[in-house]
Every structure is written in C-alpha cells, then in structure tokens.
Symmetry: C2
Subunit: 329 residues, 2 copies
C-alpha cells in the first residue's frame, strides 16, 4: 500500500477505535503543566473546534516563529555569526585590510562584545563580504559544510542539537492541527533555509529572513543566482510585519518570539479581532541554557517584556515551564 | 463524520474499488488530445510514479505559472492596467498636472498604445501614484470593489470570467498530484493576491509578483502596513528566477508562461537535471480570444518562441489544443 494511503488508514483506525486514548495523550510532553502550556493548548483548541466562535479555517491558521532564541539558542552569539566568523578567518589572508576594519577586526580577534554591538547589520555586513559573488548554491554548500563540523563554543555540541525540544513539540502540535508555521528571522534567509527542514521540519518556502539582493545570470551558459554585496531587506523589528506581509500576504493568528526584535511581530499578530496568541520565551535558565533579558546585547528582552502584561502575551519561563531544553541525543 | 475524514474514506474507497475507472477519467477535459496534452500528462505521471527514475518527492513538486496571458487574458491591456486607469480617472480632479504628464496623460485619454509602450514600469508608476499612502488593506478593498463591477472593454464580461478553463484544469491536476503551484507574475503582488484564491484556488502566500516598498506603522494606535511610492521589486524577465529564489528558495520542476517575460523563468526551471516541463501558451486564436505574438506590445512572444524548439519547451496552440477557452458561465 502506498505510504500516504497507509497513513490515511492509520488515521481512520485511530479515529474509529481510539479517540479517547488519543485525546488524552499529551502533545507537549516537554512542557510542565502551568499557565503557559494551558494557554497554548486552549488557543489551539479554540481556533480548531468546528462551531467554536473562535474557529479559524485551516487556510488562515498561520503561525510565525522567530528563530534565534525562540527555536534554538542564540548565546554567546547568534549561530550564524559563528559561521560568518569562521568564514572571515578562512578568507583573511586574502584581505589584509580586515585587520584594521570593523566588524572584521572584531571577528578576527574573537571580540564577541564588539561583534554583538554591531548587531544584525554587522552580521549581515560580514556575510555579504564573505559571500558576495558566490552563487546561492555555493553559499548553501558552505552552510551545509559548516553545520556538519562546527561546535558551540561553550556547550561543545553541534549547533543542530541546540534547538528547543519544547518548541519542536509545539511546531508539531500546530501542524497536527492544520497550522502552517513560518519562521520569521532577523538572520539571513539563505542561511536558515538550508537547515530549516532538518531542524524543524519547516520547508524553505516557509522561511522569511533578512536578505541580500541577488541576480540571475548565465555562467558558462549555466543559469545561476548570484549573491550581490547589497542589502535587500532587514527582517527585524518593524521589518518583521513587513516581511510577513511581503511573503505571506496574510496576518498570522499566533506569534512566538523572545526579544524586542519580535515586538512588532507580536503586536501585528495579536492586535486584530478574534482569538490571537502572542508568546515570549524568557531566557531565565542559567543552569540548562542561558539567563539574559534587559541588558543583553544579543536577544535583548526589555520593552516587549513590559508590554506582555498589558497586551495579554504569554511569557514562557524556560526554567519553570520547560521540563527539558534540548532534544535527547 | 468530520469532513476531512469523510474525504479520506472516499479516497480509500476509490482506491480499493475503482482505480481503473479513476485512471480512465480525463483530468484535462478542455484540452484536445494532441502532443501538448500528452506531454503534460506524461510529465506528471513520470514525476509522481513511485519507483520511476524521474520520481520527485511531493515537497519538491513546485510548479510556477505566469498570470497575464498564461492563466487569464491580457488584451487589449493587462487587466491591472484597466484597474489603474479607473483609479487615475477617479483621482484626476485632485491632480491637474496629470493632464500633461505620461503615463497619466495616456491613461486619461485612453491611449492604450502609449500606455502599453510604458510597459510594466509604467503600470507600476500608475499604481504607485494612485495608491501610495494607502494601507495594504485599503488597497485590497479597492481591488475587491473594482473586480466586482469592472467589465472587459470588448468582451463585456467581468474580468474574473476571463480565466482559462484549460489552465484551471491543469492547476487542479497538478494539485491532485501533490504539486504546489505558485503564480509568478510581472503584475503587482498585492493586486493579484486579493483574487488569486477565487480565480485559481491559489492562496496569497503562493503568489509572487512585483511590489512596492511598505512600512509598518501605528495609525491612531492601530498597526497598519502602508504602501510607499517606491518600487521594491520587478518580477519580470530575469527578475522571475530571482523572485522564485527569494520567495520559494527552491528551483521549480515545471514552468508555464506565454511571453518573452517568462523566458528566464522557463530557462531556470528546465535547465537542471531530472524531468522538467516548460510550457508556452501561444495566443493564436483571434476568434475565441486574441491572436498576437512577435509584434505585440503586451505579451510579446518572440525570442521565447524561437527558443522553444531547441530547449524542448511545449508550445500550446490555444486554437488547436483547447476545446474551450473560458469557463462556462
């Protein structure tokens, strides 16, 4: 029997013989029972229950997720920044001028504070300088090669193991309920798309991010997409609703973030009529992950934390709400 | 029984009891039997047959369609141009300077030739001038209002009735075989997204098009997306593969167009290894639709027609290959 028919039979069997058992299984086993988990489960029930006044048809069940700090860790630096630093080091012999020029100087000296201070734009400048002129396929290959070998500087694990297990369960729970989850990241879209399917089961076309301009050309008669050294779009802060509008053209009903860079995305998502869900992951777990908020250069959570109460956003305490942070190896 | 379970049961029943009957039903009843139809059917069979050397997993079954001239008519002018002209006329009293300035002058005088000569960029300039400062929701409402009342100048029918029935069947056939069809239009993405679901069953997030820059702001405390009078992206010619890469991040395996503006999209789609399908709709049916190709200002098909043979693209003759052009009323 073809696999998709097999799954249909299994679904039907489950429906016919085991609905009660299914209903009792916990879709979010890595979440401790508490207000955050209850709120998420109740929201999904409300928008999917036929006849509910909050019912939303599947086609409009759009959920948006920040990536860095919301779906995987982001300390002591955005993981894509580690990728860019490794590229700068590899290419430095051909660029003696980088020794005296920021943010390259900071990258070569491993000065994370100076690098963090250069923000998303500094990161993008590094990426543009180290990858302009490459084809998109060459860039994707560099990402794939790096991800296979790189290790987190303090946790000593591959970056791909540093996704948040509770958020992966949440993605699955939403998909199982007809949602279409998008990632809306301040990071580079061409970086994240290479690994989003493996990390989260999110296909490239559901990844929105910052981008450089590209052009189409023939190289020795072969069509390629070439990355240009020009910023096209910064998908951060007020850029996030703009990116959502540009790529999806619909307003989401649920948004998940962790920093002030996600404030406008949560605002845009939750300020329309009907059931809406806004969630902030609060990094308060120095033991299992990292603890930072108002003072952090990376993933600063300050204004959005103040706004959470008045706006009815759910703040997830990593320490109290999550049984487990990373997936089992 | 919930509707989606009901459909599963029906699918299973069809599979168990009636495969032969199903296989014999014609998925493209408005297409005459001939080389074009056979080629399309064979391509879909090849990439979906498990075990076939051309098999493509559903996640990579991306098909891209031009809109104007490929999915609906585009003569005597792009339909979006008719929308823009109506807007120019409505706003003209507030803009006396338009009487002497192109392309506004041509719009006010109904000089289609001058307008057509201004091309996609002229159209976009009209749209920007008549809609900048509007919120995206106001713009969408203007499109909805116009589409309900406007009539084609010579065919005297609502524009929404001027989609091509054979192409709608093709969209359905592809979807039924696990394809994800995208529209990749030189026209404005915010125009087409308002009507793409109704016209073709294609949701907004599967529409790629030309765009203006937008910004996110609060108006009286209410978040809105505002259209700015600045071009962001022209999704035409070499811009089409760029737009596909930007929005989808994957290379399509099938592309459908009708003009030189689609040449690079077909080239990008069909020049990779594996089974690929490139199709050009040739407007050679003056009786039922319009006949034009190498000399037309709108939808010029010249270089792409020359390239079709050497590149193995299928040229669809509207006159010979289609039993019917428009849907029954």
């Amino acid at each position: 029997m073809p696999r998709h028919l097999l799954s249909m039979v299994l679904v039907l069997a489950a429906w016919a013989f085991g609905p009660a058992a299914l209903a009792q299984s916990d879709p979010l086993p890595s979440w401790n029972d508490g207000a955050a988990k209850a709120r998420i489960i109740a929201f999904v029930q409300a928008v999917t229950a036929v006849g509910s006044r909050d019912f939303v048809p599947p086609v409009d069940r759009i959920a948006v997720f920040d990536n860095d700090g919301a779906l995987w860790s982001e300390q002591p630096m955005y993981f894509q920044l580690a990728f860019a630093i490794d590229r700068v080091k590899a290419l430095a012999p051909q660029h003696p001028e980088w020794k005296a020029k920021q943010p390259f100087k900071a990258a070569l000296e491993g000065d994370l504070k100076a690098l963090a201070a250069s923000g998303e734009e500094g990161l993008l400048e590094l990426l543009m300088a180290t990858h302009a002129g490459n084809t998109s396929e060459e860039f994707a290959q560099a990402v794939r090669d790096w991800v296979r070998t790189a290790r987190h500087p303090t946790l000593k694990r591959p970056y791909t193991e540093l996704t948040f297990q509770p958020m992966r369960e949440l993605l699955n729970h939403l998909r199982a309920n007809g949602f279409k989850p998008y990632i809306v990241s301040g990071g580079g879209v061409e970086f994240l798309r290479v690994i989003s399917e493996e990390l989260y089961g999110v296909p490239p076309e559901q990844v929105i991010g910052s981008s450089v301009k590209t052009k189409y050309e023939l190289r020795n008669g072969v069509p390629v997409i070439v990355r240009l050294p020009t910023l096209d779009f910064i998908d951060d802060k007020a850029g996030k609703p703009v990116g959502i509008h540009k790529y999806i053209g619909k307003r989401p009903i649920a948004a998940f973030g962790n920093s002030d860079g996600d404030l406008q995305m949560l605002e845009w998502t939750t300020s329309a009529p009907g059931a809406r869900l806004g969630v902030l992951v609060h990094h308060d777990d120095a033991e299992r992950e990292f603890a930072y908020d108002r003072q952090s250069h990376i993933g600063r959570l300050d204004r959005a934390l103040d706004e959470a109460g008045p706006r009815g956003w759910t703040v997830v305490s990593m320490r109290r709400d999550w049984k487990q942070v990373y997936p089992n190896r």
